[in-house]
């Protein structure tokens, strides 16, 4: 196979379809995991960064990237980097809104230094009430905490500042 001539922008465009398997409402680009694409002799190298070191979705994301680019005749290598360390600041505002609609309270403002204070005013993604309380700092995945709404009584997940 002759290496297809795809530009960096075209590859980014393709990769922007790939969603986070744990929050399918947002893409890996919107959440900030997709860091860079380098064009190489044989195809390309995709640089991704994990949200949490033990994020179990990384294997699936890597496979999704390779499969998608393979469909377009592009041979891809996926490289995992820890620097710059991912932070919730990398999540775009559009993605935060998508998260809320999906039922997950998005991280409030920036990557919080003080994890105990900032968790108090989390808005319920169902009814918008601020009368909520934390049930556990650890939820179904490493990046989320468990909350409950004292008004609509619904439990919900909060994407922690990180």
């Amino acid at each position: 196979m002759v290496a297809a001539k795809h530009t960096k922008e075209e590859i980014f465009e393709l990769l922007s379809q790939i969603v986070d398997p744990e929050i399918p409402a947002v893409t890996i680009e919107e959440i900030g995991m997709l860091q860079d694409v380098n064009i190489t002799e044989t195809g390309c190298e995709v640089i991704i960064t994990p949200t949490y070191t033990g994020c179990p979705a990384m294997g699936i994301i890597e496979a999704d990237i390779k499969a998608l680019l393979d469909e377009h005749g592009i041979e891809a290598k996926v490289k995992l980097v820890y620097d710059p360390a991912w932070t919730t600041d990398m999540i775009t505002d559009v993605a935060k809104e998508k998260m809320r609609k999906y039922g997950i309270a998005p991280p409030v403002n920036s990557s919080c230094g003080n994890i105990t204070v900032a968790e108090r005013e989390i808005e319920c993604p169902q009814c918008g009430s601020q009368n909520t309380e934390v049930v556990s700092r650890f939820g179904s995945t490493a990046c989320k905490a468990l909350y409950k709404c004292n008004d609509c009584k619904e439990p919900f997940e909060y994407f922690k500042c990180h």
Binding site: P50, Y52, T53, G54, C55, P56, V81, Y82, D83, A85, W86, T87, S111, I115, T116, V135, S136, R137, F138, G139, S140, T141, A142, L146, K160, H162
Partner: protein, 253 residues
């Protein structure tokens, strides 16, 4: 390996082993947690630690340059080739025992990774910066529970105090240094552990005070892990953890 790579390899292995063995212990809580939220919390911590171990093992393999994977390092060494601190392999015991272990370890790791993130080795610095964020949650979790149990019922107070006392003798070892430490320290790569001790101790005392618990007495400190000498518990952990790779080498999902 060059001398410097050999030293970094040992250091990376030590950090990977600490995360890996503690992760295995915490994972043993899966489906055994006292409440559902705690079951999730403890296994979430375990997951962070697996990710951390993977990072340090990958780097160790890279430094060794023999084409090994992080899995080879995790699953194909014997007891004496592990360099995790003894406290990591201590059994879960009751919930208070696990919390005491978490408190001692996570406070240590908080101060440790805060320093390691300034390492002149870029990989160590990047892994440390990433780990530090996660360790803050581990520390908050352990401190919350220590206070809740210490300042709880008579029974929970008694169990928490007993757990803290029993594990205390494994904390001295966290600060032990050998040639690897001193030589890497000279190059700005590793952390001066002796500097961390007063900070760690003060932090623990503050938490215990709030929890109405007493600081355990210094009597005798266990040692051994820097030389790969372990308690009887590590062998049992490895027997469980490595069974599949040993019985069916190169098995794939």
């Amino acid at each position: 390996m060059t001398d410097i790579n050999q030293l970094k390899y040992s250091y990376s292995l030590r950090l990977g082993d600490n995360a890996w063995i503690l992760s295995h212990r915490l994972a043993e809580w899966c489906s055994n947690g006292p409440i559902l939220e705690e079951d999730l919390a403890l296994t979430n911590l375990a997951l962070d630690l697996i990710g951390r171990a993977q990072g340090f093992y990958k780097y160790a393999a890279e430094l060794e340059g023999k084409g090994k994977s992080e899995d080879d390092i995790a699953y194909r060494r014997n007891e004496r080739q592990y360099f995790n601190n003894l406290i990591m392999e201590m059994p879960n015991g009751n919930f208070a025992d696990t919390i005491a272990r978490q408190l001692y370890v996570s406070v240590f790791e908080y101060y440790f990774f805060r320093e390691l993130k300034n390492s002149k080795d870029e990989t160590f610095a990047a892994l440390a910066a990433k780990t530090l964020k996660e360790v803050k949650y581990h520390m908050a979790h352990a401190a919350d529970w220590t206070i809740r149990l210490g300042d709880g019922t008579e029974e929970s107070h008694k169990k928490m105090q007993k757990a803290l006392n029993e594990l205390w003798m494994y904390t001295g070892e966290l600060f032990e240094m050998n040639d690897v430490d001193s030589e890497l320290m000279a190059q700005g790569v590793s952390v001066d552990l002796s500097m961390l001790k007063p900070k760690w101790e003060q932090h623990i005392i503050d938490v215990l005070k709030e929890a109405t618990l007493a600081q355990p007495e210094d009597i005798y400190m266990q040692t051994g892990s820097r030389q790969g000498i372990h308690t009887e518990h590590l062998g049992h952990i490895l027997g469980d953890m490595q069974y599949l790779q040993r019985a069916y080498p190169d098995a794939k999902w």
